[in-house]
Amino acid sequence: MLRAALRSLLQHKLRLSLTLVAVVVGVAFVAGTYIFTDSLKKSFDALFEAPQPDVSVTVADALGPAQPGGGGGAGTGGDQAPTLPGSLVGEVAGVQGVEAAYGVVAADGALVVGSDGEVVGRAGPPARGTTYMPDSSISPLSISVGEAPQGPDQVALLEATAEAGGLSVGDTVKIDTPSAGLVTMNVVGLVTRGISGSDGSTLAVFDLPTAQRLLLGEGDVVTSIAVKAEAGVPQDVLAQRISAVLPESATTTTGAQRSAQIADRLEQTFQFINTFLLAFALIALFVAVFLIFNTFSMLVAQRTRELALLRAVGASRGQVRRSVLAEALVLGLMAAALGVVGGILVSQGLRLLLKGFGADLPAGPLVIEPRTVVVSLVVGVVVTLVSAFVPARRAGVVPPVAAMRDEISLPAKSLRIRTAIGALLLLTAFVTARLGLASTDDGNRASSLVGVSALCALVALIALAPVVGRGVLLVLGAPFSGSTVGRLARENGRRNPRRTAATASALAIGLALMTAIGVIAASTKASVAAVVDDTIGADYVIFGVKFQPFSPDVYNAVKDTPGASTVTYVRQVPIQVDGDRTVLTGVDPQKITDVIDLQMQAGSSIP
């Protein structure tokens, strides 16, 4: 019995393998999501082992993520990074349990000019400048080629930055700096970032006095202090002791806390990838349900005589049903197993893809948790079994006497219930869509209502397909009904509307989903374009390179350009209001409304 079922699988290899593909793709995306996420989490372990300061002292409530070493800068950048007095370094070094303390300067706006005369790096990610910490046990940066920068004309570049700019050790390089303008430096070394969670930013590394002069422009100030603990002194204990000597404006972060912050940030960044992958998995599995249902329905119909024979010689309904389900089970297991393998490919592909976009993920081994395998197998098997359930039940009710009849026709069931359900769902879809579109003031309510509507419409479509299909085929077949072949083809499609509909449904769902994605993309593009057109009346907008602020001289130079009727400026700084971070924008109130559509909501403008 089981043997017959499994042999039947082998006999329909080709047809089943096509069905298999949909399940494999679905499971691969599920497994891929898990493997990618698990591997990422595993690679976070490396974050905790990589060298970094045991305790960092930073400005309390700094706006923007102030990051010592290889990290950040001040949010919108270029504006003066918040600083601590350099004298604090000595005080911190004096705290009991501190082995060494180093002043660190880190700021945005160090634009490295490549050998082709262009600024290195893409427009988005910041251009960072920082100091090199001489102690390799706590420095997140390590020298890979050449040596550490020393003196006012030496710089080390991040390997990726040097490569992108066509620069190497021994070259001279022009760097545009926030405080000293364009300077010419000698490249003496290349550095790599131990840990990063980087986003494709460029990095130039100087010694402390040079960094202070070029990036901050003030006297002896630092943006953070990196502390190395004496052996045996716990990070949190040391952090507390240091806090005691700090002014109110400074705060401490332990190495462990920083690692956790980076890991957190990375995880949030990649959350959207999970959502995206799981959406794809859902689509694939949804389509798979239809394909499996259809394939098994056909297999059952084809084997009616064989199934009837089994019933005649003593197989119970349950046995026949189970034999079909056994086929589905084996198919599901195979698909799920292939899906897990596919998941490895998906996760590796993602890694490469993200690398291509410039995100360098922490390296780590591929992690395949037992949970990944179990979930993938369960998903693959359950989807296959559920889809094959109805065909299996149909196989069970094949009357044994069908084995004796030459003509085999399964009783055609009325489409009335199906039509009623479909009509009801369609109505629900219309009502929820109207309600959803009407509730414009509540975005959540609107989107969930429209979501329900979409789902109802889709299921209604599937339910009504056999009813509508007969009519549609009549119309579509009309041009061909002149020939016997055309009439035969048309009537063949109309003869078993359920079968025709099931075949069409898989395709229809795939198309519906693809169309949805296309419409969403096009709408987003169109509405962004509309917003830009509506609000920005300016014909030209001048941005600094990498959105860095630039000198008012530029404004003065542009202002008197012949043909320019209105020229005005905008300046933004990050601020904090009642604990919430936002951006304060400075404008010329007389002119700004000429170029940007601003509406006064309340109050009045200062003349």
Partner: protein, 244 residues
Amino acid sequence: MPTAARARALTKVYGSGDTRVTALDAVDVDIEQGRFTAIMGPSGSGKSTLMHCLAGLDSISGGEVWIGDTELSGLGDKALTRLRRDSVGFVFQAFNLVPTLTALENITLPLDIAGRKPDQEWLDTVIDTVGLRDRLKHRPSELSGGQQQRVACARALASRPTIVFADEPTGNLDSRSGAEVLGFLRRSVDEFGQTIVMVTHDPGAASYSDRVLFLADGRIVDEMHSPTADAVLERMKAFEQARS
């Protein structure tokens, strides 16, 4: 003579209203144990329906049917299935072998379904009687029609059923293969005491039986013991004339 199966006032009606057809009209029949019974009749006489109803393959509209000591009309699908599995063997006109299974696997299929171990000695006897020893590993598609029907006969006998029903077993075979199959059915009655009911419209096939029942318009109209092909043919001709 004990009976292997019998029917009393067996009635089978298809459809309703205008399309109502009475396929069997209060048929009384006794199938004697250890004998070879043939059911004959023109197309539409109800001979196949009679067999389906006797074998528990089809539901009945009225009357009573027994196989052995079991009354069929009161049984549910499960009990009917078990009855077919344990007490009934089938030979079909279209052979109806499972194409994916080998000859041997097809022969033991009813036993596999029942989850029983075949009685190896009996199985060997059956296989040798049908002469399929060297074909056991072949798939149905690799066997001739006659060989396939012999596999089907072996399958019907393998579980030692109370009764074997054969539906036009030679209908799809050439006369030589047909004779082989009929000879085998005859031997299984003579040598193993098997009870066989065969539906046929071929007087030659009917001549292998011990007794022929003639069916017309849903009733048993006549019967003949120890038939010969010629005598059966004559009788059939007489019916044709009587009807026209």
